[in-house]
């Protein structure tokens, strides 16, 4: 039963990503490599951040503002990393196109580009879920569960799995939005991504308050759903434009 619970938490956090991986990513080796490298990039960013914050942790105060600064810096750093990722991808795209010409294959389709963006985002999201949720889940396979004070209604593992799922969604699809925004030079899309990320991060601050998770998690899911809808609309628009052309 405990093993079942543990697997349930894992699937709650990563199930959708898993199906995305199996259905879209795993057929194209290049996308797998993209997922791996973006996961690695995210891990490196996490290590750098934790190295910076290592001296200040654990925070002794009960005040929320140090955590606010922590999240702010982290989000800023990771958004900077997203720009870097985009630059790398841009170069890679040229290389891929050049190669495609050489072997007389078609250049990258629009859907290919979007899939690369999706793979990059999935890498970020999976890294998030793995490090923030999965790595803490080990005790969940054992014969007990764990509650935190600030949210005593549901087990800690369940909350972290739910939060991780929201963040996986946000990370995965905001990468698609961001890449399209950079590609088109669309300012709105470029700014919507960091702000969604930041808002999502700040919303988790609500969890610090006693009983805050009943408010924070629905808010977080609201942000995730907004991101999802925006990504869906944008992809739909690009695809129809592309076809009509």
């Amino acid at each position: 039963m405990t093993v079942a619970a543990g697997i349930g938490y894992v699937l709650l956090a990563l199930g959708p990503s898993l199906s995305l991986f199996v259905s879209v990513i795993s057929k194209k080796p290049f996308l797998i490599l993209t997922v791996l490298s973006s996961t690695l990039l995210w891990l490196i960013s996490l290590i750098v951040l934790s190295a910076i914050w290592r001296g200040f942790l654990p925070l002794k105060t009960a005040a929320w503002w140090p955590y606010g600064i922590l999240i702010l810096t982290s989000v800023a750093f990771q958004e900077g990393l997203r720009l870097l990722f985009w630059k790398i991808y841009k170069r890679l795209e040229d290389i891929l196109d050049a190669f495609a010409d050489r072997v007389s294959k078609p250049r990258l389709f629009l859907t290919d580009k979007m899939q690369i963006a999706l793979a990059g985002g999935l890498g970020h999201g999976v890294a998030h879920a793995v490090f923030f949720c999965l790595s803490l889940l080990t005790p969940a396979f054992g014969p007990a569960t764990y509650f935190v004070d600030s949210c005593s209604q549901i087990p800690f593992f369940l909350i972290s799995a739910m939060i991780a799922f929201a963040f996986v969604t946000i990370h995965t699809f905001s990468m698609v939005i961001a890449f399209n925004g950079y590609g088109e030079g669309n300012k709105v899309d470029q700014y919507i991504v960091p702000s969604a990320h930041l808002v999502a991060g700040m919303v988790t601050l609500v969890n610090l308050a006693p009983g805050g998770c009943t408010v924070g998690i629905p808010l977080l899911y609201f942000v995730a759903i907004l991101t999802l809808i925006h990504a869906g609309k944008m992809v739909w628009r690009r695809l129809t434009e592309n076809q009509s052309r």
């Binding site: 934790s50 999240i71 891929l96 050049a98 190669f99 923030f132 999965l134 803490l136 972290s160 601050l205």
Partner: protein
């Protein structure tokens, strides 16, 4: 809609990465399931193991750090020296054409590893999960498993998939065994092996370099245990052949496709790994592996699995088809008239196990080579990657993920380097270095950070 190039790029890399991933995953699972349940077992197991890897010093948890470090260094030194001696012995034997002896010795080693070490692991799994099985059934099953394994490791006529499965399971067994070494010794040993690997493959006069050169000059297979990432599904046209080269060319942006193909062919990596059982796997590229006899055997085996729908060149064997994947120019240049043979060779398994005299010490040598059709990775790489991850699994899951990512990316770097330089490369150094660095960074820096934020339910 014509298939996009995304589907053809990176096939070879994934072909190597997925078995490595599977191997690491299973080792982690094994370590977890075996260690977590018996609270008393770790200490008893550790004490009971006495191998070439801890001849000098048996680690005691109560020892001071400097004592542990000193002992671990001594252990690693002795172990590396043993491996080096055995490797030179192997080269010597190979030089004087004792190939059959080597092969039979490897057969024996494979039998031994699968039978006894696999058997003991199997036994502990049965005990752990209280699987109701009687000893006769267990023995018969184990015996069959072992015999089929020995056959698949060496002779032709066995599906490549089977051979790959046995290669991975050999890696798993040896790695699971090595994870029982004490902690300090494991880390020092891993680093020492990476350094040794670097020297043995790249330095002039390094034993593995000698071995590869000898094999290539004789046009023979490398006598070692090697995992071949032979694709089971043929890719159409050049797409299949070019992925790795593509990545490389992208970087250098200058070389033509033919050059890419050539460079790919030439790259070999050899690696030595040897903990207790050090088995060296060498991965030769097609050129090195040419042995006609083998090729003939392999063809039969290969054809069904590979199932090429494409038309190969005129020759009927499937292997020739593989070679065709590479652009014709490159083939002609390199392989000349021997295409079919070459292909065969490349596909023929180079698996030899070298066991050291000790039951426990067998050296596996693994090298990685890329042939037209794929990359070969020494079994030793499998073992030591998995040892690292298995050791990380004893600390926390977080370190496991970090180490896995680091090792896989190191492997990716090595593969790309492989297609840039045209020689055998050691697969251990980059991956092990990254893995060790990431392990300690994760453990020292990241874990407090993550635990601190995540237990406050803050994420970003």
């Amino acid at each position: 809609m014509e298939s996009s190039i995304l589907e053809s790029i990176g096939v070879e890399i994934i072909g190597v990465m997925s078995p490595v991933s599977i191997c690491m995953f299973l080792v982690v699972l094994l370590v977890y399931s075996l260690s977590s349940s018996n609270p008393f077992s770790p200490s008893s197991v550790d004490n009971s193991i006495r191998t070439a890897a801890n001849l000098v010093y048996v680690e005691n948890p109560s020892d001071s750090a400097s004592q542990k470090l000193e002992g671990a260094l001594l252990n690693a030194l002795v172990f590396i020296i043993l491996i080096a001696i055995v490797t030179f012995l192997l080269v010597l034997l190979y030089y004087y054409n004792f190939t059959n002896f080597l092969k039979n010795y490897m057969r024996f080693s494979a039998f031994f590893v699968l039978g006894t070490m696999g058997g003991s692991i199997c036994l502990s799994v049965i005990q752990k999960f209280s699987i109701p099985v009687d000893s006769m059934t267990c023995f018969v099953l184990l015996f069959n498993f072992t015999i089929v394994g020995v056959l698949s490791v060496f002779s032709g006529g066995i599906p490549i998939l089977m051979r790959q499965v046995y290669m991975v399971s050999l890696g798993i067994i040896v790695a699971a065994w090595f994870t029982k070494l004490p902690e300090w010794t494991t880390w020092v040993l891993l680093v020492a092996l990476a350094v040794y690997d670097l020297v043995a493959v790249l330095a002039p006069g390094g034993p593995l370099k000698l071995l590869v050169e000898l094999a290539s000059s004789r046009d023979e297979e490398l006598p070692a245990l090697v995992y071949e990432a032979r694709p089971t599904v043929a890719r159409a046209g050049h797409g299949g052949a070019s992925p790795l080269g593509l990545l490389v060319t992208g970087v250098s942006d200058s070389s033509s496709i033919e050059l890419q193909a050539v460079s790919r062919d030439i790259v070999n990596r050899n690696e030595n790994d040897g903990p207790r059982n050090s088995e060296y796997s060498a991965v030769p590229i097609g050129n090195f592996e040419n042995e006609e006899a083998h090729s003939n055997r392999d063809e039969g085996e290969r054809s069904p699995l590979v199932g090429n729908s494409r038309e190969g060149q005129s020759s009927s064997s499937d292997s020739s088809q593989y070679s065709t994947l590479v652009l014709p120019t490159s083939q002609d240049r390199q392989f000349g008239g021997r295409e079919s043979e070459i292909v065969d060779e490349e596909m023929s398994p180079l698996v030899e196990m070298i066991g050291l005299g000790d039951e426990r010490e067998q050296a596996r040598r693994g090298g990685v080579e890329i042939a037209d059709r794929g990359i070969k990775l020494g079994l030793g790489d499998f073992v030591f990657y998995s040892v690292l991850v298995g050791r990380a699994a004893m600390y926390d899951l977080m370190t496991v993920y970090a180490c896995y990512l680091a090792i896989i990316s190191g492997l990716g770097c090595t593969l790309i380097l492989l297609s840039v330089c045209r020689q055998a490369l050691p697969a251990l150094p980059i991956s092990i270095a990254l893995g060790v660095i990431f392990y300690f960074l994760t453990r020292l820096l990241m874990e407090p950070f993550i635990v601190g934020t995540a237990t406050n339910l803050m994420m970003f």
